[in-house]
C-alpha cells in the first residue's frame, strides 16, 4: 500500500470523476455508504459493488492498484464472518458490505487529492476530530510504508532465518516494536512540519472547479438512486425479495457494457 500510488492517481487522472466537484463526490460517497449500511440484502449490496466496478472500468481508473486495496478489508471481514456468521450467505453479506464500503472510499481517494477530502471533512467536524482523521489517514500509510521498508530491508540484508524459527520470531517482534516507535516519530515530525509550514488544524486547499455541472449532478443522482433501492428493499423486502436478482442482472449488464466499451477504444 503505497501512498504515492494513490496520490498519483488522484492528481494525474483525467476521468469524469476526477473532474467532478469535491463536494459532489463527497455527497455521492456518503449516499453510497448509507446505501451499503442500510442494506441487508446480499443482492442489493452486490449491485452497488458492481455499479462501482462498472464506474471504475468505464472511467479507466487504475483498477490494478485499487482493487487489492478495496479487497484488503475482505481479509478481516472474512475472518470476522467465519468466526461469527451462522451460514454462508450471511458471511458473504458481511464480506460484501466491507468490500463495497472500502471500494467506495478507495474510488473517492483515487479520484480526489486527499487534502481536498480532508479540507471538506474538517469543515464539518469538531477541530480535534478533523485533525485526528487527517493524521489517522496519514498514519495508516506511514505504518504501511514503514512495513514495506522493513520487509525490503530484511530481504536485502539476509532474509529471515528459516533454520532458526526462534531467532526469526525474536527479530520480527523486535522489529515490529521499533516500527511502532518509528512510526510515532515519523507521524510527529510530519505533523511538526505541517505546523511549521502554516497548518493550524484546518487544511486550506485551492478550489478545484468542477469540469461539468451535469456530471456532478449525474454522480449524485446515481448514488441517490442506489440509496433509494437499498431503502426500498430494506422496507418492502418481503414483497421485493424475489425480484432482487433483477437489480443484480441490470448492474451486471452495465458492467459488461463498461468493459466492452473499454476494450473497444
Amino acid at each position: 500500500m503505497d501512498i504515492a500510488v494513490v496520490d498519483r492517481s488522484a492528481v494525474s487522472g483525467n476521468s469524469t470523476l476526477h473532474g467532478a466537484a469535491t463536494g459532489a463526490k463527497l455527497i455521492a460517497f456518503s449516499l453510497v455508504l448509507a446505501a451499503v449500511v442500510v442494506s441487508t440484502n446480499l443482492f442489493v449490496v452486490l449491485t452497488i459493488t458492481i455499479v462501482l466496478l462498472a464506474a471504475v472500468a468505464a472511467l479507466r481508473l487504475p483498477a490494478r492498484s485499487m482493487l487489492p486495496l478495496a479487497a484488503y478489508p475482505a481479509v478481516f471481514a472474512a475472518v470476522f464472518a467465519f468466526a461469527s456468521a451462522p451460514d454462508a450467505l450471511a458471511a458473504s453479506l458481511i464480506i460484501a458490505k466491507a468490500v463495497t464500503a472500502a471500494l467506495a472510499s478507495v474510488t473517492l481517494m483515487f479520484t480526489t487529492p486527499y487534502p481536498q477530502v480532508f479540507a471538506a471533512l474538517q469543515r464539518v467536524t469538531p477541530g480535534l476530530v478533523g485533525d485526528t482523521l487527517l493524521m489517522t489517514y496519514r498514519a495508516i500509510f506511514i505504518l504501511a510504508d514503514k512495513l514495506g521498508d522493513l520487509t525490503r530491508a530484511v530481504r536485502l540484508r539476509s532474509g529471515l532465518s528459516t533454520g532458526h524459527p526462534v531467532r526469526a520470531a525474536r527479530a520480527t517482534t523486535r522489529a515490529l516494536g521499533g516500527l511502532l516507535l518509528y512510526s510515532l516519530d515519523l507521524a510527529q515530525r510530519e505533523y511538526d512540519v505541517l505546523v511549521l509550514r502554516g497548518y493550524s488544524g484546518r487544511l486550506r486547499v485551492a478550489l478545484r472547479p468542477s469540469r461539468s455541472r451535469a456530471a456532478d449532478s449525474a454522480i449524485i443522482v446515481v448514488a441517490f438512486m442506489l440509496l433509494c433501492l437499498a431503502a426500498l428493499w430494506r422496507i418492502y423486502w418481503i414483497r421485493l425479495i424475489s425480484y432482487s436478482w433483477i437489480l443484480l442482472a441490470v448492474a451486471l449488464v452495465g458492467l459488461g457494457v463498461a468493459l466492452a466499451s473499454r476494450r473497444r477504444t
Binding site: 503505497d2 496520490d7 492528481v11 509550514r197
Partner: protein
C-alpha cells in the same frame, strides 16, 4: 536571563546597529535516552542579512540547535530568541517569517503534487489563489524545477526532493531561512546554483540564512560567519571562514578537515616558505599562485 548578557563580542562587527535575528544562549537539551546536547560556550547569533554556517562533527548537535530555533524543542535551560520572541512558545507569531528545510526531506513533503506542496504555506496563510500560483511558479523557476510541478513528490529522486523542499521553504519570501544540510544529495551544478541563490537572497532581500553543512569547501564561498560545534554541542569557535579555518586545533577536535584549498596552501608552505597566504576561493587561489610564480621571476635575486 542569559539573553541580556550582550557582551561586546556579539555586536555585529561591521554594523553595530544590525538587528539580531537569532540568538541562542547556553541552551541544554537532554533527550529521553539521556543524550545531552549543551549548546554553550559562545552565544550563537545571526544578524539580519548574514549567512551563517554551522559546522561540527556527526552527532554534535547541529540539528538539535536548528530544532530549537524552530521551536520544535523547548530549551530546558538557557534561552533561544528568534525575532525577539521565544520560538517554542510563540511560534505562530513568527512562522510566516521563517522558511525551513529539514535534514531528512522525505519527512517534509506533505501534498500529493509538487505544485501543491510548494503552495502549502501560502494557501494556509490565506493568500489569494492567483498570488499563490504566481509565487509557486516563481520559486519553481528560481530552482529550475518547473517541469516537476505536476509530479508526485514521493516518486522523485533524492536530490529532486531536496529541491522541492527548498522551494517550499522559499515560497513565502522568509526573512530567516533555516536549512539543515541543504547541499547533501545535490549534484555539483545544483549546489553551485543554490550557493548563488542564497548569496543573491541575502544581498538583495536581506534574508538571514542559517545552515548546517559538512561541505567545507562551500563554506568560504557561502558564509559570512561560521560557527563550529564540538562534540556535545559546545560552541567552540566563531568567526569569518578565514578566521575559522586558520584555527587548526579546534577544527581537528571538531572532526573538521580544512577545505581543499586551505590544505593545498599549507602543503605549499611546508615545501616553500615563500608560498602565498591561504586563499579560499578558486579565483583568489589562482591569482595568488600566479602572483607567487610571477614574483619569483621578477627580481632575479629573491632568495
Amino acid at each position: 536571563m542569559a539573553l541580556r548578557s550582550q557582551t561586546p563580542d556579539h555586536i555585529h562587527p561591521d554594523d553595530p546597529t544590525a538587528e539580531e535575528v537569532v540568538r541562542i544562549s547556553c541552551v541544554r537539551h537532554t533527550y529521553e535516552d539521556g543524550t545531552s546536547v549543551h549548546l554553550c560556550g559562545l552565544d550563537f547569533v545571526a544578524h539580519r542579512g548574514k549567512r551563517v554556517a554551522v559546522l561540527g562533527p556527526n552527532g554534535a548537535g547541529k540539528t538539535t540547535m536548528l530544532y530549537h530555533i524552530l521551536g520544535l524543542l523547548k530549551p530546558q535551560e538557557g534561552a533561544v530568541s528568534v525575532f525577539g520572541v521565544s520560538p517554542a512558545e510563540q511560534w505562530a507569531t513568527i512562522r510566516r517569517r521563517v522558511g525551513v528545510m529539514l535534514q531528512n526531506v522525505d519527512e517534509q513533503i506533505i501534498s500529493p503534487t509538487v505544485g501543491d506542496d510548494v503552495a502549502f504555506s501560502p494557501r494556509q496563510y490565506g493568500l489569494p489563489e492567483t498570488e499563490v500560483r504566481e509565487r509557486v511558479n516563481r520559486v519553481l523557476k528560481l530552482l529550475g524545477i518547473e517541469e516537476l510541478a505536476d509530479r508526485v513528490p514521493h516518486n522523485l529522486s533524492g536530490g529532486e526532493k531536496r529541491k522541492v523542499a527548498l522551494a517550499g521553504a522559499l515560497v513565502m519570501d522568509p526573512e530567516l531561512l533555516v536549512l539543515d544540510e541543504p547541499f547533501e544529495g545535490l549534484d555539483p551544478t545544483s549546489r553551485q546554483g543554490l550557493l548563488d541563490l542564497l548569496e543573491h537572497l541575502s544581498h538583495e532581500r536581506g534574508m538571514t540564512v542559517v545552515l548546517t553543512t559538512h561541505d567545507i569547501d562551500a563554506v568560504p564561498e557561502f558564509a559570512d560567519y561560521a560557527y563550529v560545534l564540538a562534540p556535545g554541542g559546545t560552541i567552540a569557535l566563531r568567526g569569518t571562514p578565514a578566521e575559522v579555518f586558520a584555527n587548526a586545533k579546534v577544527l581537528a577536535d571538531g572532526n573538521i578537515k580544512p577545505p581543499i584549498l586551505a590544505e593545498l596552501f599549507s602543503r605549499l608552505r611546508e615545501r616553500d616558505a615563500s608560498a602565498p597566504e591561504m586563499a579560499l576561493t578558486i579565483e583568489d587561489a589562482a591569482e595568488a599562485l600566479e602572483g607567487w610564480k610571477r614574483r619569483s621571476l621578477l627580481p632575479e635575486t629573491p632568495q
